[in-house]
């Protein structure tokens, strides 16, 4: 565990990853982010249907000693949330790219996707 960066994902400079599937972006935090935070103990997710704007607060991830706001990497409507995290927030530590996803956003403006980082950019950043 530590710094896995997956090639098929998009990234932000604030350590979110996105898996783009047509108009849906599945969003999570990167392996690097979870390993630095350690012990994720609480996740506050938005409600399904909520409209979020790129750069605004999407959800909150807490470790024992930190409270981190996760920003929406794209604008759109919350299509789905990972309810499992409410009872098992540690899933983000265990499986940041698979079981530990946060939300799915219905992308409003596809041009925002083009501005995201690819795996190589993100690797250079961390």
């Amino acid at each position: 565990m530590g710094d896995e960066v997956r090639n098929n994902l998009k990234y932000t400079d604030s350590h979110e990853w996105l898996k783009i599937d047509d108009k849906i972006a599945k969003v999570g935090i990167t392996d690097h982010a979870q390993s630095e935070l350690t012990d994720i103990v609480f996740v506050e997710l938005p409600e399904v249907g909520k409209e979020v704007k790129k750069g605004e607060e999407l959800c909150v991830v807490e470790s024992v000693k930190s409270v981190s706001e996760i920003y929406a990497p794209v604008t759109g409507r919350i299509a789905n949330i990972n309810k499992k995290l409410e009872d098992a927030p540690e899933t983000i530590n265990e499986s940041p790219y698979d079981e530990g996803w946060l939300v799915e956003i219905e992308i409003e403006d596809e041009s925002e996707v083009k501005k995201l980082l690819d795996a190589e950019d993100y690797k250079r950043m961390i």
């Binding site: 400079d13 350590h15 350690t38 012990d39 103990v41 807490e62 024992v64 981190s68």
Partner: protein
């Protein structure tokens, strides 16, 4: 002054950078050893100290279940010497120092004239001298205060800040005595609760006290000169290997103390609080004169003051310092310390509220990011002594 060891409502980038963004702080004399052991560092009260090595939860449970080793050299060391050292402590603390026998230590508080706490500390009676352990970053202020009071009251005693000469290691947990016993010929069972004495241990002579900040069986070692500490640290890790000993950072130190309802000066005394408000009246010896006593007596008589109150969350959510405490929608107090309890796996907190609201089992609301989270008032300690037996 006293730093905070958590990051509140910041971006993920900020949280990640927090452990790396350290400047102009004092490093522990065994900083490189911590690095070798994989520590992540944080700044606390001007000191760069390990916040964690593996994870806070893991380290926390290690101390509750077996044994952990802490470097707490951010804490201060002050010698009180002179013919009337005892009188100086009796005047400047809520304890009558003449009642504390040689080779015993005492948890106490140093007050201003208005009764508010300057610092809480342990003093150790070591023959003709006393050593006090002020909080991180408090040594200069406390030393100055004590010397001023000695002079004003013509007490023949001197306080000397020797923090830089000492490193403090804490060995805490049910297996702490067995671990340390391997390193000394002194029968550590003879060092009773709050006992303190010089001991030959791990090849050096140092002060040992049966004290701690975790609520578990534990000992603290005052080691000088500090260049001896690395070898002692390694020997303790080796001795505790069979019990699964781990080095423990300040993150777990904070969660361990909060579960036992112990005060963190920088949080619970912030803004000026008296020992009555902090529910430390058990430490006050009323049968002697001390600075702040008149103010405390007046406050006691009036009775109408907020008291530190322990809370366990019923709803999901983690209270943090600064969160409002409400009853029926009306603000009644503020959280001074809050965290997730690694033992209970729920949010826990302390904060000051009026006696009307702190009956055991009362339900209050803690406001976390604008949402009320229900919490129940409990008696200290938040995590009971028999937690391990029950789990």
């Amino acid at each position: 002054m006293i730093g905070m060891i958590y990051v509140l409502s910041k971006s993920l980038n900020y949280s990640l950078a927090f452990t790396r963004k350290i400047s102009m702080s004092i490093k522990s004399p065994i900083y490189l050893l911590h690095k070798e052991l994989g520590a992540r560092f944080t700044e606390f009260a001007g000191f760069e100290m390990p916040i964690q090595y593996t994870s806070i939860k893991d380290e926390h449970l290690t101390v509750r279940k077996t044994v952990g080793l802490f470097d707490v050299s951010h804490m201060s060391n002050v010698w009180i010497t002179g013919e009337n050292a005892e009188d100086l402590l009796t005047l400047t603390t809520v304890e009558d120092a003449s009642k504390i026998k040689d080779c015993m230590s005492q948890y106490t508080a140093i007050l201003r004239d208005d009764g508010t706490v300057i610092d809480d500390t342990i003093f150790m009676h070591l023959g003709k001298k006393y050593m006090i352990i002020p909080n991180a970053g408090m040594a200069d202020q406390v030393t100055k205060w004590l010397n001023e009071k000695a002079e004003e009251n013509e007490i023949s005693a001197t306080a000397e800040n020797v923090s830089n000469d000492f490193i403090i290691l804490a060995v805490q947990g049910p297996k702490s005595r067995e671990t340390l016993q391997k390193l000394t010929k002194t029968d550590l069972k003879t060092v009773g609760f709050f006992g303190c004495q010089y001991v030959d241990i791990a090849g050096i002579n140092c002060i040992i006290s049966h004290t701690g900040y975790t609520g578990e069986l534990g000992f603290e070692l005052q080691i000088t000169p500090t260049n001896l500490a690395e070898d002692v640290f390694r020997k303790i890790l080796e001795a505790g290997k069979e019990f699964g000993i781990k080095p423990i950072g300040l993150g777990a130190r904070d969660t361990l103390r909060l579960e036992k309802s112990f005060i963190l000066a920088g949080n619970e005394f912030k803004g000026g609080r008296t020992p009555l408000e902090a529910v430390m009246s058990w430490t006050i010896n009323w049968d002697h004169d001390f600075i702040g006593k008149d103010s405390l007596l007046k406050q006691k008589e009036k009775g109408d003051y907020q008291r530190l109150t322990n809370l366990i969350c019923i709803d999901k959510g983690i209270p943090r310092p600064g969160c409002e405490i409400k009853k029926d929608g009306k603000k009644i107090g503020t959280v001074t310390s809050g965290t997730l309890s690694p033992c209970l796996n729920v949010g826990i907190a302390m904060g000051y509220v009026h006696p009307n609201f702190r009956e055991k089992e009362s339900i209050l609301e803690i406001i976390i990011r604008d949402k009320p989270v229900k919490a129940k008032v409990v008696k200290p300690p938040i995590v009971p002594k028999d937690w391990l037996q029950q789990n």
